[in-house]
Amino acid sequence: MVILSAAKNDKHPVRMTTNLEALYQEVILDHNRKPRNFREMENADRHINGRNPLCGDEVTVYVKLDGDRVADVSFKGQGCAVSKSSASLMTAAVKGKSVEETMRLFARFHDMITGKLSDVEREQMGSLAALGGVSRFPLRVKCASLAWHALKSALQQGPAEVSTDLEGPPLTEGA
């Protein structure tokens, strides 16, 4: 992997550099600083509050549908870099997709952050691949999936409040 070779000359231990850089890639840091679609949506069909009881983070996901398509999606809230960038990348990735495509993408995304995809499969995830590093941090799976759980509830007429406790105990997830 490219990251491993880049770490060789770093004065910090390899383990630290590789894992941290895999998690906090430039794309993640960029979306954390400048989240896309970070706004309330007045004419949303649904908005769902997602909570991460572990850290108290909250995100509200707004969805506007056009028939079976996600016409617009946005979010507001506060959270760590992982949850914020994941929400931001999600909104960009699902806009224009059908509900079914979106749900398939979430399943795939969840497989990626829990370490179930190969390197090749991960690269096929497009911009979402930036969150692949989460698979090395099982404790952060809940952060990366928070907005997705809210979106899923919005699209499937689920409850207006969701919690990442749906993920189960953190250490049963992924590697």
């Binding site: 630290m16 840091l29 108290g56 983070d57």
Partner: protein, 445 residues
């Protein structure tokens, strides 16, 4: 970021009253320029803790969540199971008598450690949470009526907040929350106004788990007696018993709860100390074996204290472990424990203040704070900071610290919290500061 543990003469015993500013720095090999604060090394305490002794690069700064356990505690638990284990209070045979005696001795030892002379008024529980629920249930449900008032503070851990909130809802009583001063102390002026003849409970922490504030318990209790003659004073001592020399009977409280696992003891044991008259007139909390005197078909009479509140087979082994922890702490001396923590916190506060964008919470003067430092770093969420620090072996807590009412008032979703104990030294602070700098570099703040 490697730790540099060296043996250096022990710290002076007297706690520093203010943050030391101009002490000469000890020799350091770090590439960074250290602020001019003294280096603090524990004598040999770290090596007494197997989990730390075998992992020299582990920087455990989360003792406010749970402490590590010295070998003597682990050995005591093992020795109990290897030599003395039977069900106490029951078997008419020597081994059971030995188990009973061990349990009795453990209670005596813990009572002595906490300044409790009337030993049977120390009820063993699973910990602080169970102890506070015991009071809220057994005393609360029989004494708190419609229109009564329960006073808690905005700095309470959920364990000393939710049981009272729910009691208030159930009894149609009113929960009143005493706010804090800007530097994170109980607003005594507001408390004075909240107390009255309707007040039935005043529940507050001895030391805040999220801010580190040490509250003036005796003064507050005196205020309660004057302004709220019908109220009981309930104190959450989970963060005090491990770090301060606590004499419960001298504090004048009605109930005092503590946890063993935060004071070098095992998880699953802690206690409630209560005023004898109150404990005797309260109904039991849980029903079952051991807590009964005589069980008829239609009615049952209760055993004497402490057994009335200890239904079922007691947790003897962990009580024995906790007693060993008390021995260990007294071996160091609680004044030394406190002095050590004051110096470490002084060091930590000075060095955190030197980092751009770091904000700390709680009282500024060291005499009013324990070994807990809550802080935030501008532009970096505590959860992200915790992940970065974890990669360097630095364990801190990031989150709401089971104190969501407090977080709302601080207007932050979460803070980072570093907390120290007998096994920490300046190298742990070095690693913390280096980790924060690394996170700042990573996040470009």
């Amino acid at each position: 970021m490697k730790s540099q543990r060296k043996s250096v003469p022990p710290p002076p015993a007297a706690p520093a009253a203010t943050v030391p500013q101009a002490a000469p720095p000890a020799a350091t090999t770090s590439r960074e320029t250290m602020p001019r604060t003294p280096r603090i090394e524990p004598k040999t305490h770290r090596s007494d803790f197997p989990i730390l002794a075998t992992r020299q690069d582990l920087h455990y700064l989360d003792s406010a969540a749970t402490s590590q356990k010295p070998k003597v505690v682990l050995d005591a638990i093992r020795a109990y199971y290897e030599n003395d284990n039977a069900n106490p209070h029951r078997g008419a045979y020597d081994l059971s008598a030995r188990a009973t005696q061990k349990y009795l001795d453990a209670r005596e030892r813990v009572a002595d450690f906490l300044g409790v002379i009337d030993t049977p008024t120390l009820i063993f529980t699973r910990g602080t949470t169970e102890a506070l629920n015991l009071v809220a249930t057994a005393w609360g449900r029989t004494h708190v009526r419609k229109g009564d008032e329960i006073v808690v503070t905005a700095m309470e851990h959920h364990a000393n907040f939710v049981p009272w909130q729910q009691l208030a809802i159930q009894a149609h009583a009113k929960l009143r929350i005493c706010e804090l001063t800007p530097d994170g102390r109980i607003d005594v002026g507001m408390l004075t106004k909240l107390l009255g003849s309707k007040t039935k409970v005043v529940a507050f922490s001895h030391v805040s788990n999220a801010l580190g504030t040490i509250n003036p318990v005796a003064d507050i209790v005196e205020l309660v007696r004057t302004k709220a003659p019908h109220a009981i004073a309930v104190v959450d001592g989970a963060q005090a018993a491990p770090h301060l020399r606590v004499r419960i009977e001298e504090l004048g409280v009605d109930f005092y709860a503590f946890s063993g696992h935060k004071m070098l003891g095992p998880m699953g044991v802690g206690g409630l100390v209560g005023r004898r008259a109150l404990l005797e007139e309260m109904p039991p909390y849980q029903m079952g074996g051991d807590m009964i005197e005589f069980v008829g078909d239609d009615r049952t009479t209760w055993n004497v204290l402490p057994h009335k509140f200890e239904a079922g087979t007691p947790n003897v082994a962990d009580a024995v472990g906790l007693a060993a922890a008390c021995d260990y702490l007294d071996g160091i001396g609680m004044d030394q424990v406190r002095a050590h923590e004051v110096q470490l916190v002084a060091n930590m506060l000075v060095r955190l203040a030197a980092v751009n964008g770091v904000r700390t919470y709680g009282p500024a003067d060291l005499e009013s704070r324990s070994g807990v430092v809550s802080f935030t770093v501008d532009g970096i969420h505590p959860h992200d900071l915790s992940t970065v620090l974890d990669q360097a072996g630095v364990c801190i807590r990031a989150g709401h610290h089971c104190a969501q009412p407090l977080m709302r008032r601080l207007d932050v979703p979460a803070t980072a919290r570093a907390s120290v104990y007998v096994y920490n030294d300046t190298s742990d602070v070095d690693a913390l500061i280096a980790g924060i700098e690394r996170a700042k570099a990573l996040f470009g703040t």
